[in-house]
């Protein structure tokens, strides 16, 4: 029970972090048809900027400023790079963001070096939030969840209560009509792209110190975020939310489970020895399979429900 609750909490907090990334990715994709390959790179930039700012001014200013800087950077990328290749079609757009991901990683190498940074959780939150049976739940994890939920709320309000939010929302389901109505002004594109990047940056600020801030962090989370977007259904925010939590929880549980077929069958009375056929398969523990679970999930979804959990459009 203890294990279950703690894993669930950890899974949900990780899932919420994934959603902070996948929401921006989904918004950008639905609005502009651009799969932002560099999305996780903006997440990484958020963490690095936050580190740099927190060294000088402390964590709280960083929490505000780093996402802003990342957002502005994203807007500039849209304005001066993406818009240029827009006329060539979606593949060059994707390639551009692909190259950008490369560039950002190298840029990080260039400025901050190749090893991980000492980006720490602020001291005032470096303690337990509560203790469940015998395990403590860190306060910072709680803070992460709070920020994610606040962000979720903010997105919701912007999408439903503001004019631009309505335009964005309409274009999630009817991109062509919105375009025909003359709404898809480049400025909206720029705002959405910048906004999406800022969200990723925010995730970086709070994820960078909760996990690790290093040049490989973008690649580590990048493909998972794509999986979330596809599993949720391309262009569906609700789907992205469900898929983020699902994958976050599944992965967290899996990592903590040391069972394999060997243990399972042993409890059923069968004995498997290293000589058994396909032993390497039977002896794998669930924890060892954790890295492939999201991708396995992706493949299964594609075979059995090609448009994703909550998607309406089929790619």
């Amino acid at each position: 029970m203890e294990f279950f609750l703690i894993s669930l909490l950890n899974g949900v907090s990780y899932g919420l972090l994934l959603f902070m990334l996948s929401s921006g990715l989904t918004l950008i994709f639905s609005m502009m048809g651009v799969l932002n390959f560099a999305h996780a790179s903006f997440y990484m930039l958020g963490a690095y900027f936050a580190y740099q700012i927190s060294v000088k001014f402390g964590f709280w200013p960083a929490l505000l400023m780093a996402p802003l800087v990342v957002g502005v950077l994203g807007a500039l990328v849209e304005r001066f790079m993406l818009r240029r290749v827009h006329k060539f079609g979606h593949v060059p757009e994707l390639l551009l963001t692909f190259g950008l991901a490369y560039l950002i990683e190298e840029f990080v190498h260039l400025i901050w070096g190749r090893s991980s940074l000492d980006y720490k959780v602020p001291t005032e939150m470096d303690g337990p939030l509560f203790t469940l049976y015998t395990t403590t739940f860190p306060m910072y994890r709680g803070f992460m969840m709070l920020v994610a939920v606040l962000m979720l709320l903010a997105i919701f309000l912007v999408l439903t209560r503001t004019r631009i939010g309505l335009v964005i929302q309409a274009s999630l389901t009817h991109p062509d009509t919105v375009e025909a109505l003359g709404h898809n002004v480049p400025r909206v594109f720029m705002l959405v792209f910048g906004g999406g990047c800022a969200l990723a940056g925010l995730a970086g600020v709070i994820g960078g110190n909760a996990f690790v801030t290093e040049p490989g962090m973008a690649a580590a989370v990048g493909s998972i975020v794509f999986v979330v977007a596809v599993v949720g259904g391309m262009g569906s925010l609700a789907g992205a939310f469900v898929a983020s939590l699902l994958i976050g929880v599944i992965q967290t549980f899996a990592v903590a489970m040391d069972y394999s077929f060997v243990t399972l069958l042993k409890s059923a009375g069968f004995v498997i020895t290293p000589d058994t056929f396909l032993y390497s398969l039977w002896k794998l523990t669930i924890a060892q399979t954790a890295p492939i679970l999201p991708y396995l999930f992706l493949v299964l979804i594609l075979i059995f429900r090609p448009r994703g959990l909550m998607g309406t459009r089929e790619g």
Binding site: Y295, L302, G315
Partner: protein, 428 residues
Amino acid sequence: MAQGAQKIVFRPLNLARCIIWSGFALLLLVLPLFFNKGFALTLMCQIGTIMIFSLSFNMLLGQSGMLSLGHAVYSGLGAYFAIHMLNLIGKGWLFPVSLLPLVGGLAGALFGVLFGYVTTKKSGTPFAMITLGIGELVFAMSLMFPEFFGGEGGVSSNRIAGEPLFGFITFGPQIQVYYLVAVWLFICTAAMYAFTHTPLGRIANAVRDNPERVEFIGYETQRVRYLVLIISGFFAGIAGGLGAINFEIVSSENVSAIRSGTVLLFTFIGGVPFFFGPMIGAVIFGFFIVVLATITKAWLLYLGLFFVMMVMYCPGGIATLIMMQFPIVKAGRFREIFPSYCLAVAAGLTLLAALVFAVEMIYHLSLEAAAGTTKAFFGYDVEVASATPWLGVALLSGIGAVLFVAARRGISTHWDRIMGDIIRSQTA
């Protein structure tokens, strides 16, 4: 209609085509005469392998409009099967080492059948994302099953195994490997070129251009994509098999996203719209990976910049830049535009110099700070922490920018005038 039929001339074996292919064969044959150092030979083997790999990749991207972000899966798994086969040969199995690439190719095709079934259900951006997912899946698996994938260290082997070919070719000396690669390269290039002139190859082009319409002329686009992917996986596997022979080691890096990304980068730089574009890309690959990577730590940054510039300013790649000059050369007017090109090259070099200086100095500050603030540039010691070199960078950038603007204006006016004349003379 009989009259109309008579007028149709079926083109005989094109002379120019004959010349090009014989020239290619001849080039492959004589290259080792000029580059016979061990290092150059290894490099050429690697480039040849990458040529096959990137041609197979472009079968998807350039010919069928499928952007795969996980193509290394096919070459990598092909390589694994080939190296296991090589180990079996070493244990006494009767199979010629020279045909190992075929083992890789069959494995590649087999996995194309398997994975393609899932990935080709989609096209466009979703296809790209799913291939990425499959790539990650295979990579994660490669770390989970060390029995087959060899864990961190990979699987190594010895290519001197089994009976020597014709009694004396053991593939021990690098030059023999070179000719093995050359033969396979020639065969694969010819086969892939031939593929572009078959019904499936042509319909793949149609699917790239307008998948919807293809469904209304009797073809199932998903089936077209699936078949092309399997064939492309076959050739990728051959490249993997050759790589296994060349390096005698295969590790999980062979199936990694980095590999998949690399082939995409260089194929694009070489030029997606033309069949031979990827081959140019492979040569540039050799330059970047081998030459630049040994000179500077920042080579990936330069590569990234180069790639992004190409996407933004020249999405057709180097091959397109070359092909664009043909009408002008044919009209005998290349001389008019040539000075502007020179100016552009000068601008490019100046800007490049500024960039290189800046990047290398920053790198020095961030990575080699312990070694002091002076950096050696082409024999000169530069005080990185002082203002002077940075002023130099600013000056160079300024000059480069001015040159660039001038060159751009020159090229576009000349280009418009010459092309205008050519078009007018054609319609007249």
